[in-house]
Amino acid sequence: MFREISLAALATASLTLAPAAAAGTPSPPNAEAYIIWPPDGAVIAGGKLWVRMGLRNMGVCPKGVELPNVGHHHLLIDTELSTDGQIPSDRNHLHFGAGETEARIELPPGKHTLQMLLGDHNHIPHDPPVHSRKITITVP
């Protein structure tokens, strides 16, 4: 009986949790984030570059401001995309909470991946998530 109750409780808990996890700030269905520069496969001598972050059918807004159809940019470096919960803030997840649309970065020699992910006022990806294709660049 106890076991049944705890199973039922678990089922209820997961039922109530599931919609909460999916209910991010809505994004327009045609929204598109993309890396304007650098192009996929670029070779960046010296490893210092400006990344230009492009966004279509949606607007940029600093963090903490709740408005429809806006978000702020995050640049994912050498990491996998996860659209669950808050976007981490570390050296692999750069936040642009002041509405920046370009990022000055410096990378060590080697192959690196770049990907953009838009976050809402609470740094949570939208529903559906708005992210770019992942590109690979090389620093010789």
Binding site: R56, G59, C61, V65, L67, V70, A98, G99, E100
Partner: protein
Amino acid sequence: MDKRMYQLVAAAAVLLFADPALAGPTKAPRDAYLYIGWPNDGQVLPAGKPFRVWFGLRNMGVAPKDVKFPNTGHHHLLIDTELPPAEEGIPSDRNHLHFGSGETETMVELPPGRHTLQLLMGDDKHIPHDPPVSSRKITITIR
């Protein structure tokens, strides 16, 4: 002092007092850099086809209109017109396109001929910053 001297003094006084009003109340970072990422200056584009304009901004951020956040503003695209007076609100008409939702690019279609494009940031109330943040004016040809 003769009459001419008075006129000079009066003109100087007007300049002195008018000076602070020559910019809006919102400060912009000194190194803010606004530029048109695309098209390029001198570019020739086909008629009857909308083209994309990229808004480039460095050392400053984008915020929708009415949002007050330090070092931000929203884009305005000036087409075939001069920069408006810096102390006034940017007009909203077919020569001054506002991007008050925080857009960072747009599609434009222009009739055949030579056209100028220039970007200008406006603060939460559509007033240029102090100092004003504007791009170089570029000329394109549609044919």
